[in-house]
């Protein structure tokens, strides 16, 4: 840039060496030619990539449209603000100050450090939160105890800070440098720094003894503050100033009314360039927990401290050696986090806008909300030490793997763990009977076999042997239980009955079913082929029952009619129809035992009702009797048709052929009766239409009842 142009902003400048040009993007700006590059860096019409280019948004547009786009960009990084609350529990062993006593960390913490052990997910997340919370508390305490923290703030405020130059250690630099915490210095300050370095020697010589002492102390303090061993990875994330001018680490707050503050300090985020900025903690968490695995020893020491101090006091989780109890408690009541003993934890996961929905659904709705009582159900007395628990939802099991939901500590995320099917599913959940392990009785070969082999033996057994085996001992019962999803179980179906005015459930029947857990695959459906046959049997049972009852009723109806009308001119007709019904009844009487169907329990009712109906309509006149016949036969024919349709759905069942042909024949017979009735002036009966509708309704209800009872 020319010296003249450096200071010249006159758009009508008549300097010949460097003419004024227009912006080629059409933004109406005019400037000296040499400033062109600078201008295009800002020009609102120049085409830029979306800020989220590194996350996958490939759109390009004018710079002026950028802000609008970012509101909707699917690749925008969002910080999830879902929060969960943990209650602080007070316990009897309150230690007021952290003691640096070297004690053995409990089992769970050891497993936290030793990668590979998985614990149940709710305990794991509680542990993670408690470590996290405790760490913050420690830092806060350290801050309070250590006045130099504050003085660092003061120094920042006073625009005097210590920055290490390459050559000299005691150079103070104005604030603008420190705003770029990743060490990038603007050119002016670079100049400054160089000048200071040049004069450093002189200044040091001129300083008084006291001043020099102060500087040294200051420097030492500062370097101590920022060393890695004290605050792991805080400084690694150079772009996330955790000790911000907001005065703290925003990971867990005491009852905030507002979500985490946005701070303009943090927009220079060299790790994640996005349109989003906040003083979030996620990268901190990530680094912290992943460094747990990497930097073993350092953190083991740190965890010792944490173990002793807080985990036995605060945050509602106490870790134990096998002698002590395990307590935890999680509050569900998000609407009243008002008590000071509950701490709010923010999810603070970074995710893209288009992934956010999935994140919320999977992690927050499906897993976290259900974790409390759905995924893992614990005895309500867990806080007093009961360790009974079981998983309610079984993740999908396919042929190769079993999948377990765990908390992945290095990545601080909820993840699936795949385990080979052969080796995993059983051993973790079955506990060998205590006496077995104690005695190591060598003659108990079967129970001492490894579970996988026992499992293989059991797959060779039939159901009855399995049932016998399950009665042998508790351990074997559990192992057989594991086999259930493949084999299916017998479950009872209950029916609500009213007895003496009181409703209760009574067991109606037992039915064999395959277990379909929520996520099961189709392999479990293959293991039982009898269910369609069962269904078929039920269908035949029902059909025969209702038909038998119907024919009995028809027989009685005609009997009733004959009793009144035997001497009239329709007598022979009715007699003829009655004989045919007798034939039908006889046929059903023989089919019922043959197919092992249950006859209707209300047979006496049908008998009486039929007789009454026949006699009643006959008393109204022979036309009425015919009308009754018409109504009944109409419903019956249609009913037989429906049954035929149901039976024909399974054409490959041989036994049905006889049944089908029988019903067909009967249907035709009933149709003939219907027509006979019409031919005999049924339609002239008084109130023909009403009568027939009432009778039809009655017959239909009777059919419905007879099918069931």
């Amino acid at each position: 840039m020319h010296d003249h142009c450096d200071t010249c902003y006159d758009i009508h400048c008549s300097d010949q060496s460097c003419p004024i040009v227009h912006c080629s993007n059409g933004c109406y700006a005019m400037f000296h030619q040499c400033k062109g590059n600078d201008h295009y860096l800002l020009c609102s019409n120049s085409i830029v990539n979306c800020l989220n280019y590194s996350h996958g948004c490939k759109l390009t547009f004018k710079r002026s449209q950028l802000s609008y786009h970012l509101l909707h960009c699917p690749a925008s990084v969002i910080c999830c603000t879902f929060s969960h609350i943990r209650q602080l529990k007070s316990s009897s062993n309150i230690i007021s100050k952290p003691q640096l006593v070297d004690i053995e960390p409990s089992q769970q913490l050891v497993s936290l450090i030793n990668d590979g052990e998985s614990q149940s997910i709710d305990v794991a997340t509680a542990i993670r939160d408690s470590i996290w919370y405790d760490h913050i508390r420690e830092l806060n305490e350290a801050k309070c105890l250590n006045p130099s923290y504050n003085s660092k703030e003061k120094i920042l405020n006073n625009k005097d800070s210590v920055i290490r130059s390459k050559k000299y250690l005691y150079i103070t630099i104005p604030n603008c440098v420190l705003a770029y915490k990743d060490g990038v210095i603007c050119s002016t300050c670079k100049l400054h720094l160089r000048q200071l370095e040049e004069n450093e020697g002189e200044r040091l010589a001129q300083m008084s003894e006291a001043d020099r002492k102060m500087m040294e102390n200051f420097h030492l303090l500062n370097s101590a503050l920022s060393s890695d061993s004290d605050i792991p990875s805080l400084v690694k994330m150079s772009s996330i100033p955790m000790l911000t001018q907001n005065g703290g680490i925003d990971m867990s707050k005491e009852v905030p009314d507002i979500p985490p503050q946005l701070s303009s300090e943090n927009t220079f985020n060299s790790q994640i360039i996005s349109d989003f900025s906040s003083s979030f903690s996620y990268p901190y968490r990530l680094n912290y927990f992943s460094s747990l695995i990497i930097e073993h020893k350092q953190l083991k020491n740190k965890l010792f401290k944490i173990t002793n101090s807080s985990l036995f006091n605060d945050l509602s989780i106490r870790h134990t050696t096998p002698n002590e109890h395990q307590q935890y408690q999680k509050s569900n009541n998000l609407s009243s986090p008002a008590s000071s003993s509950s701490k709010i934890f923010y999810c603070n996961t970074l995710c893209r806008r288009d992934e956010y929905k999935q994140h919320v659904r999977n992690i927050h709705c499906n897993i976290q909300c259900e974790m409390d009582s759905w995924l893992i159900v614990r005895c309500p007395n867990t806080q007093y030490g009961c360790t009974i628990e079981y998983e309610r939802l079984e993740p999908y099991v396919n042929d190769l793997y079993n999948i377990e939901i765990i908390l992945d500590e290095p990545n601080d995320a909820i993840a699936y763990k795949y385990t080979q099917k052969w080796t995993s599913p059983i051993s973790s959940t079955i506990s060998r009977p205590y006496y077995d392990i104690q005695n190591e009785d060598d003659t108990q070969y079967l129970v001492n076999l490894p579970i996988e082999i026992l499992y293989q033996i059991l797959t060779m057994l039939d159901s009855l042997s399995l049932r016998n085996l399950s009665l042998v001992s508790r351990y074997l019962r559990e192992v057989c239980h594991q086999l259930l999803p493949q084999k299916g179980i017998v479950i009872s179906e209950y029916k609500r009955v009213q007895r003496h005015g009181v409703y209760s459930w009574k067991e109606e029947k037992k039915q064999q079913q395959t277990i379909r857990s929520l996520f099961s695959s189709s392999s479990s459906l293959n293991s039982f082929s009898s269910t369609p046959e069962e269904k078929n049997q039920a269908l035949i049972d029902r059909i025969l029952r209702v038909d038998h009852a119907g024919e009995l009723a028809a027989d009685r109806i005609y009997a009733g009619q004959m009793a009144i009308l035997k001497n009239s001119d329709v007598g022979p007709t009715i007699q003829h129809m009655w004989d045919e019904e007798k034939e039908h009844l006889a046929k059903f009487n023989e089919m019922i035992p043959k197919y092992k169907a249950r006859p209707s329990a209300l047979l006496p009712v049908w008998s009486v009702a039929g007789y009454a109906l026949g006699a009643g309509t006959a008393l109204l006149g022979k036309d009425a009797a015919m009308a009754c016949t018409v109504a009944v036969e109409a419903v019956i024919s249609e009913h037989y048709n429906n049954q035929l349709r149901d039976l024909m759905e399974n054409p490959n069942q041989g036994i049905d052929k006889e049944l089908i042909s029988t019903i067909k024949k009967f249907r035709d017979d009933e149709a003939i009766h219907h027509d006979t009735g019409i031919a005999n002036n049924a339609e002239q009966a008084p109130f023909y239409r009403n009568l027939t509708s009432v009778i039809k309704l009655g017959v239909k209800s009777a059919i419905w009842l007879a099918e069931r009872i």
Partner: protein, 162 residues
Amino acid sequence: MAHKIRLQSSDGDTFDVDVEIAKQSATIKTMLEDLGMEDEDDVIPLPNVNSAIMKRVITWCTHHKDDPTPPEDDENREKNTNDISSWDQDFLKVDQGTLFELILAANYLDIKGLLDVTCKTVANMIKGKTPEEIRRTFNIKNDFTPQEEEQIKKENEWCEEK
């Protein structure tokens, strides 16, 4: 191929076996493939198998060396336990201890055929027995409380024949 391989049991006895016969064991087969064909002087240690069992396993493998490889079967299929050959049945007429040791050895050495046939034998020992008989056969203690027994009986009464 008369190539022989030396297998050493847990008590220190070595056995010379044809490579083809030894390769029925998937464990040994993988070991050989991974380590390359070694000299005749080197032995393959098998610390989980003692000599007596080792001998029997070798006998079985020698008899079955010409067997076709069994097909990959679906785990869910209910297995037929009647198809044990008479030679195998005689071979497995041993006391329980040996039988279960054979199972463990077959599992360790990953010999599918032997594992199958031994498991089928045990399954046949379980089939058709009442719980009490199973307890007696396998020396298992009944650790149900009387209340549990009561409850289990009630749950199972549907399949008692009346």
